[in-house]
Assembly symmetry: C2
Homo-oligomer: 352 residues x 2
Amino acid sequence: MGSSPPGDQGGSDGVRRTRPVTITDIARVTGVVPSTVSRALNKPGRVSAATRDRIQAAARELNYVPNSQARALISGRTGTIAVLISDVTNPFYFGLIRGTQQRLKAAGYAQLLIDTEDSGEHEAEMLHKMRRSLDGAILAASRLPEGALTTLAGEIPLVAVNRNVRGVQSVVIDTPTGIGLAVEHLVNLGHRDIVYVAGPDTAWSNRARWRSMCAAGERYGQRFRQVGPFPRGRRSGSAAADAVLAAGATACVCFNDLFAIGMLPRLRERGVRVPGDLSVVGCDDIFGADFCHPPLTTLTGPIEQAGEVAVAMLLARLDEPGAEPDRRTVILPATLTVRESTGPPPERLANG
Amino acid sequence: MGSSPPGDQGGSDGVRRTRPVTITDIARVTGVVPSTVSRALNKPGRVSAATRDRIQAAARELNYVPNSQARALISGRTGTIAVLISDVTNPFYFGLIRGTQQRLKAAGYAQLLIDTEDSGEHEAEMLHKMRRSLDGAILAASRLPEGALTTLAGEIPLVAVNRNVRGVQSVVIDTPTGIGLAVEHLVNLGHRDIVYVAGPDTAWSNRARWRSMCAAGERYGQRFRQVGPFPRGRRSGSAAADAVLAAGATACVCFNDLFAIGMLPRLRERGVRVPGDLSVVGCDDIFGADFCHPPLTTLTGPIEQAGEVAVAMLLARLDEPGAEPDRRTVILPATLTVRESTGPPPERLANG
DNA sequence: CGATCGACGGCAATCGTTTGCCACGCTTTT
DNA sequence: AAAAGCGTGGCAAACGATTGCCGTCGATCG
């Protein structure tokens, strides 16, 4: 173990909770006053080398851990950052959480993970209630209306991910441009009739992706249609598949990989070959997109990096409260990863 | 929004942080003393109906949110439960987190997610440092030695998941028995030469699964071999696949689905058909096990329920601190889910 | 040799909330 | 009519750490 064999003075029984060591205990042992202990531990230059060493030794000896509640009461800083996601079970957040976790831990912060269950009200309520216990929050996929978001940003330092709103710092992965790439890819393959499989219309990224798809359509002189919106989650895949087939398209671009992956079994069930009869493009390149059947052509973004950047932005603001929050939005590029779910449309196959 | 339009007194500028409302503010407004406010809000029977209503109205009016730090300082209870997992990017934890999250939120607790990065030292250190900020912790896949775990359980209420250790409450999914089922399934298909693909030997469940596999072997008069151990993560799949092929087995049981899924592309690359040439069994039935190619035969456990039960056990203990911690271990059954990665061994195919 | 300064450590207030105790006034009991 | 009881609200002490201020001491400077 080495680092910290905890709890020496517990004694006989493991169950009885031992009263934690406070600076007062250390003060008593070393014969100084609590404030001196505080200084010896936090601003070592403020006390003489001798007492400092004596106190630090005692602190180590007694296995002292500062009470962050008490500290927070004065300083107002809790050392906790919340990360709000709309659904823990969406693998999209894996990378993000990993990125935030890593950076937060490195900076000595704790990460409070909150599942908002896709509800804006829930989100606002949680954030408002916990604002005293938080130094800041990272909003991944916020469902909040702009106004509420701006207001909240006045209460507590905020960084939004994949959501662009005036007055709130944010980092977005440029999937809209990526969508353009995907459409180009499909058009080059010969597709003309492409539909967008829409996600919940509360999702900012859904609207952004659809807009981008329309724009891409105009570039190629096409008016793309949309099916849905469908509720989040893989289960929507069946309905989405049926809708796409009903629309008679030769290709579809999905709001996210979860939809795309969910469509595949239903398509197989109905005897539709992918990509032979229908090309499918996903979005986000989540865990599973590379090993589903067929592996998914999708938009890959540096999601872990997005988490890291979001934390970095937030912490930078916390560390110098004087500086005005730079309202700059960091945009990270998304690339098209072509796998095996896209190919020429059936007509061209018949012709060729 | 309805529920809580926050921050009224902020005024002109959204950036300036508004000083939060305290009970003292409410006291001043309503003409009582802070302690009365506290009572009006927490033990409504203790004050007269008139003042209670007046105070509660004022609290609502001012949008009061209690400072949990200050409250924790006295009561010692922080309303936060930590959930420790060894790797956020392992989909195995999805269900667990979802289960804990759900139950914790319902009980008004916040969930602090901690990634221990598979390190026991890290785990102990985090837990020890944060013990003052936590009401309890749920250890999913603890890497701690028994002794440290028992000691820690004396410092802070603990519930372990998938780890059975004396003196610590726990809920385990009975994958060992499930392994027996898997072996039976393979033996019935005609397999005799089955290897176990081992995970990190720091993982308690890895050892439990291997023991169970040995026991199953004895029942069928076989001595199964083991390959590995391999480091956690899907990337180990290639090496695992090579090792299994080198061992010349006709079937393998993997420590977890991540290994199994990771093996598949490598096997395909080497021209090994699954299940034609090699049957593969996974464990845990994670996200992706049903849509990889071929879909995985694996052990399915009620992991979300495990999370719920773990929280329930923990909260039950917190609510009645008098009651001795019942050291009972809850065991949840795992079942074998047969998909398409298992079939008869190649010899038998040749004979048939 | 007396004035000035810096180093060091103690004192006490502070953060926001909870809670044991007391006081006051009214009702009920003997 | 005096005593006991109860309902209600105030007072003040906690909880643990931080921090501005002050006093003391020894060293340095003019």
